[in-house]
Symmetry: C2
Subunit: 252 residues, 2 copies
C-alpha cells in the first residue's frame, strides 16, 4: 500500500428537508469521522434538493475527481425517493430489481404486511450494483463501483458504515493533536504561521471561542505522520508558554 | 413584488474542521431557516476545504445560478483564513482594507491590546464591498453585491443574519404543514403520490421514524400558497384516517 497517496471521497447529502432547515444533518460529521478512520479524506460535500438533474450533475462532477463517492438520503419507498434513479441516470445504466435485495425485503416484510409495490422500490438498484447490509430496517444500502448509496436516517447510515468498515482501500489516516490556549487567536497569528512553516507536512487550524467571559482558541494540528505531529505540537506549546500563555495539552 | 418568482440562494461552508468531522456544522440549518423567512430558498450547499482553488470554483459556479450566495467561515485573523482572498479572486477584484472596518476594529481593540497586523486582516474586503454589522466580536461580515461573507462561529453568524434581516429582496416564503401518522411510510406510498398529484403547487415529503418500538412517519407538505397547503393537508389527513390510521395535526 502506498501510504503517501491521499485517498479522497465526496459526499452528496440528498434532501429538501436539510436545505429547508427542517432537519439538521448529522451525516457530514459522522461520515467525515468514519472516512478518516478508513484512511480516506472527505474532500467535498454537496447538499442538494430532491431534483434528479441536480443529483445527476453532482454525481458526475464529484465522482470524476474523487476516489469514492457517498450519498445519503432518498432511498426509501415513497415518491420523493429518487436517488437510485438519479444515480443510474448519471452512470448511464438501467435500474433493475436486485434479487438478493428482493429476498431480504420479502423476509423482512413477511410478518409486517407483505412486500407491496412501494416496498419493492427499495430493492431497485443501478444495474451492476451489490448490496450494503443494514441490520436495522431490512432495506439495504447499495454499492456500485466507487459509489456508495446510503440511507439518510443517521442511525441507519451508521449501520451501513459499520458494514463497510475495512472494505475500502485507503491511505494513512490523518492524525490530529489539539493544543488549547487562553489567548485571542489574533495575538498569536504570526506565531501560528511560522510554526506551520517550520513543520512541513503539518497544517495548523485555529478555532477561537468565547467562554465564561474569556477568549481562547484551540489550535488543531493535522498530519499523517505521528512524529512530525508531536514535534509540531511540542514547539507550538513551548512557543505559547514562552509568551506566558496558559496552554492545555488538549482541546479546552 | 412578483411573488410567483422563486428566489434562490446557495451556501458555501468553508473549513477543514467540518470535513474532518471535528466540528458539527450548524449553519446549514440556521441559514436555511432564516432564508425561508426572507422568501428565499436555499437551493444548494457545498462544504469545501480551506483551499483557494476549490473556493473560487464553488463561488463562480454557485453565484452564476442563484440570486444570492452566502459563505460561512474563514474570515478570522489567522493564516488559515483565506475566504476574502478567494472570493476576491473569483470576482476578479483586488483585496483592499475597508476604512470603516478598520475604524470598527481600532475601537474594538483599543482596550484589548491594540490593532495588530493580524487583527487588521479582518478589515480586508474584496474591493467594492460593504460591511455587515456584528455586535459580538468587532470583526464585521462582508457584502459584495449578491455575495454575503459571514463568520463561521454559529452565534456570530446569527448576529450577522439578524443585521441582514429584511434587506434582501425575496418572494413568498415556502410554507409547510406536517401531518404525523403512526404508519409505515411504505404502506401509504401510493396514497402520498396520488395526494401530491391532486394538489398542484404542493410537494409532500415523507420522513419515517422508529420510536418506542413503533414505526411512524411525518409527512411534510410544502407550498407558497396557504390555501392549497391547507386543502392538501386536509385531504391527506382524511385519506389516512379513512384507512384507520392514527393521525396527528402536527409532527409526531
Amino acid at each position: 500500500m502506498d501510504s503517501s497517496r491521499i485517498w479522497t471521497a465526496a459526499l452528496i447529502v440528498i434532501g429538501d428537508e436539510i436545505l429547508s432547515g427542517r432537519t439538521a444533518d448529522k451525516n457530514v460529521q459522522q461520515i467525515g469521522l468514519w472516512l478518516n478512520l478508513q484512511g480516506i479524506r472527505l474532500a467535498e460535500v454537496r447538499v442538494v434538493p430532491d431534483v434528479t438533474a441536480v443529483i445527476v450533475e453532482a454525481v458526475q462532477a464529484l465522482s470524476a475527481r474523487n476516489d469514492y463517492l457517498f450519498t445519503t438520503g432518498g432511498i426509501g419507498p415513497t415518491h420523493d425517493d429518487i436517488t437510485v434513479d438519479a444515480i443510474a441516470e448519471a452512470l448511464g445504466v438501467p435500474v433493475v430489481v436486485h434479487p438478493d435485495a428482493r429476498a431480504i425485503l420479502e423476509r423482512y416484510y413477511e410478518t409486517r404486511g407483505g412486500l407491496t409495490d412501494a416496498r419493492l422500490r427499495m430493492a431497485r438498484v443501478p444495474e451492476g450494483a451489490t448490496l450494503i447490509e443494514n441490520r436495522m430496517s431490512g432495506a439495504p444500502g447499495i454499492r456500485h463501483g466507487r459509489i456508495h448509496i446510503l440511507a439518510g436516517v443517521p442511525h441507519i447510515t451508521a449501520m451501513m458504515l459499520e458494514a463497510l468498515s475495512g472494505t475500502l482501500e485507503g491511505g494513512a489516516p490523518l492524525l490530529s493533536r489539539t493544543v488549547g490556549a487562553w489567548v485571542a487567536e489574533s495575538e498569536v497569528a504570526e506565531l501560528l504561521q511560522h510554526t506551520e512553516k517550520a513543520h512541513p507536512g503539518c497544517q495548523i487550524g485555529s478555532y477561537p471561542f468565547f467562554r465564561d467571559g474569556r477568549v481562547g482558541a484551540n489550535f488543531v494540528i493535522r498530519s499523517v505522520d505521528a512524529d512530525r505531529l508531536d514535534a509540531c505540537a511540542g514547539d507550538l506549546t513551548a512557543a505559547l508558554e514562552a509568551l506566558g500563555i496558559t496552554v492545555a495539552a488538549d482541546a479546552i
